[in-house]
């Protein structure tokens, strides 16, 4: 089972991730009570999905800019942004935009190739949950959030840059 860290703690993951090429019937017959759908899948089938009892979250591939998604995010409790490879850094900017420009206050989750050494940067860009691989060492990963005690920039997690705080 993948391991989920949310707001600095290891927690149970209720969400069922639906892959891109899943057909509608499978989703409609799903027993899951938390469905994490590909954003385009939801857009395409939102009328059919209106009657589903499950909570719905959306996930975006790194080639898809959530800012160009024509829907308010606030009604979704979870927005997940994928890292197909950890060196594909687009989702750092997406997370910052979803938080700061779209003012989304729900859960932003990093999914895909999410590794210990990137966690602190993800956190600073606005992610607050992280889906780690099955074999991830949770303790090592939790330490990853504390690699640095200070940062120079104005970021989502701390908008006041160091130069305004130096004493």
């Amino acid at each position: 089972m993948p391991k989920l860290i949310r707001d600095g703690q290891l927690v149970k993951d209720y969400w069922t991730l639906v892959e891109v090429d899943t057909d509608l019937a499978t989703v409609l017959s799903s027993q899951a009570d938390h469905l994490l759908l590909p954003a385009n899948f939801w857009l395409q089938h939102k009328s059919e999905l209106a009657g589903v009892n499950a909570k719905i979250g959306l996930w975006f591939d790194s080639s898809q800019n959530p800012a160009e998604f024509d829907e308010t995010f606030e009604k979704f409790p979870l927005i997940a942004l994928a890292f197909p490879q950890f060196k594909d850094g687009r989702a750092y900017s997406y997370a910052a935009i979803v938080r700061k420009q779209l003012n989304y206050s729900g859960e932003i989750r990093a999914i895909g190739d999410v590794l210990r050494d990137q966690l602190t940067y993800m956190l600073r860009c606005g992610f607050n949950s992280f889906l780690l691989a099955d074999d991830a060492d949770v303790e090592t990963c939790l330490n990853g959030f504390h690699d640095f005690s200070e940062n120079y920039q104005s970021t989502v997690s701390n908008p006041t840059p160091l130069f305004r705080r130096r004493r």
């Binding site: 800019n65 950890f86 060196k87 005690s149 120079y152 920039q153 970021t155 160091l162 130069f163 130096r166």
Partner: protein, 552 residues
């Protein structure tokens, strides 16, 4: 120069600990090769042909004598007793052992140095003109602004995994010795009619496979907005830069594909969210950064010195050295001295531990304990009293640092090439040496005058061959090393990209080809015309005819 405070020290110490842990996890098999590769690159560590190479950051090329002493001792203790100065004003060690790198980094941290973001697809070391703060008629000292950018770019969480590497240069001098226009972002300091400081912002310049001169994205950016505007450019690039093809991933390709106007619109759209926000620079912060770059205690001196003038008439070699390697300073009685690291037989930019310690001594005695690395791979002492020049020169002779060849044909800019670098298609150091050996008479070099010759061992263009008056590029032809020649490149405010001359040459043909090019120039030049001017007047065709002419 900038002095680290508790915050800077703390972050650097945490970085050393972080990398030590990463190295340990890699050696324990908990990080894969691919995972560790990206992490070590963000810390300047390459695995090269023969050994790892560690690139140490020298922010905007500025070093204290204490830091140079530490580089010297590190080169002795962890390397083979020498270091290499890169064209990004950084220092490279060619032989450290992977297991020892964390220790080496701890030693660097003791003197406020590091290897952060000297490689990898992140924002690299910011560079500037080596005459910043001392050049006559300077528009504005670039160093405080470089430091502001250094801090902003260090561990920027959003831009650590960009499509490709990202280089920024800042220039406040009139001449521009920073190659500003061939950077991903080039910033020219300027003043508006009210005398307020701002930046002309260029974007999309770069060398490599598709060389481009940067285009103006903003004619005047008031200084307060520097960081929020940089954030906006970086964000558009991070989201839209190509990631499917490493050769098309630099920002220059994106800017060209979109067109500068569309690119600007996208940047402005991002900027509107941040403009005027917390990233806006404050007077206090700028004053704080400027306070580290105030003028040293200059003496009130005459701009002339009788004793020196006398020696200048007697010692011809000294006179030559002063003419080539000494530049005017903004303060009367002071000069800017550049020590050449381009002695024939030594790889361009290489310096021994002993020479480093010697230069540290010189800086302490003659130049307020500071040393600057130039992107031409030489060393500058920025504040030398005119009256001390002869003493300094004499001392340099004993350490083979008195070569009077700055800006001459044998002051070659050259990457490490195939002798060290695993990316190279061909060697570059032996090419430099063969040219230096062919042109070994000072009279002849002096007669040829100002000319730049740049050599890169591959398309990545670390030797900046696109902006050399003569550019040499190593290419691979069915497993053999060949060299393509281009002419007419120039750096500075009127930067130009060199044009390819024609089919490439074998290694042993190069000195002869350079000879023909230079001969045509000498035959055709009018009065004091420099090589580049004669080239522009004649055009490349004449040089083609000369070089490729069949022997009678």
């Amino acid at each position: 120069m900038y002095i680290y405070d508790k915050y800077d020290h703390q972050m650097l110490a945490e970085r050393v600990a972080q990398f030590r842990d990463q190295t340990r996890r890699f050696l324990d098999g908990k990080l894969t090769d691919d995972q560790f590769r990206i992490l070590r690159l963000q810390n300047g560590l390459y695995i090269q042909r023969l050994a790892p190479m560690l690139r140490v950051a020298v922010p905007y090329g500025l070093l204290s004598s204490m830091q140079v002493r530490r580089l010297a001792s590190i080169s002795r203790d962890y390397d083979k007793g020498y270091a290499h100065l890169s064209t990004r004003q950084n220092v490279q060690f060619n032989w450290p052992k992977l297991e020892q790198v964390p220790e080496l980094l701890a030693e660097l941290a003791e003197v406020s140095m590091h290897a952060i973001q000297t490689s990898g697809n992140c924002i690299r070391n910011t560079t500037t003109d080596q005459f910043a703060g001392v050049a006559p008629e300077e528009i504005e000292d670039s160093r405080p602004w470089c430091e502001i950018i250094r801090q902003w770019s260090t561990f920027h969480p959003e831009f650590a995994y960009l499509p490709r590497k990202f280089k920024i240069a800042v220039c406040g001098t009139r001449v521009d010795q920073a190659a500003t226009q061939v950077h991903d972002i080039g910033l020219y300091l300027k003043k508006n009619e009210e005398g307020e400081v701002g930046f002309q912002v260029l974007v999309g310049g770069g060398l490599g496979r598709t060389p481009q001169i940067g285009q103006v994205i903003c004619e005047f950016l008031p200084w307060q907005h520097l960081l929020s505007y940089l954030d906006a450019i970086m964000r558009v690039y991070n989201m839209e830069g190509r990631r499917d093809n490493i050769y098309k991933a630099r920002i220059k390709i994106l800017v060209k594909a979109l067109g500068i106007d569309t690119f600007r619109e996208k940047v402005e759209a991002q900027w509107q969210y941040a403009r005027g926000g917390e990233a806006t620079l404050t007077e206090t912060e700028v004053a704080r950064c400027k306070s580290f770059f105030t003028s040293p205690d200059y003496e009130e001196l005459s701009d002339d010195d009788e004793a020196i003038n006398k020696v200048l008439q007697e010692d011809v070699l000294f006179k030559h050295w002063v003419e080539r390697n000494v530049a005017r300073h903004k303060i009367p009685g002071y000069r800017i001295v550049t020590l050449s690291l381009k002695e024939t037989g030594v790889a361009p930019g290489d310096i021994t531990d002993r020479q480093m310690e010697f230069v540290a001594d010189l800086a302490e005695r003659y130049s307020f304990s500071e040393i600057r690395i130039t992107h031409e791979q030489n060393l500058t002492l920025a504040d030398v009293r005119f009256k001390d020049l002869y003493e300094l020169y004499q001392a340099c002779k004993s350490e083979r640092l008195a070569e009077a060849n700055l800006g001459l044909l044998n002051d070659i800019i050259c990457c490490p090439g195939g002798d060290f670098c695993s990316l190279a298609n061909a060697k570059s150091i032996p090419i430099a040496e063969s040219i230096q050996r062919r042109f070994n008479s000072f009279e002849r070099l002096q007669n040829i005058g100002d000319i730049s010759l740049n050599i890169s061992g591959c398309m990545n263009a670390c030797g900046h061959h696109h902006v050399g008056n003569i550019g040499i590029l190593g290419v691979d032809k069915k497993g053999e090393e060949f060299y393509q020649i281009a002419l007419g490149g120039a750096q500075g405010r009127e930067a130009k990209l060199a044009q390819v001359l024609g089919p490439s040459f074998a290694q042993d043909e190069i000195p002869e080809v350079i000879e023909k090019i230079v001969d045509l120039y000498l035959t055709e030049r009018k009065s004091d015309e420099k090589f580049i001017n004669t080239f522009e007047r004649l055009g490349i065709q004449r040089f083609k005819e000369k070089v490729y002419a069949k022997a009678d």
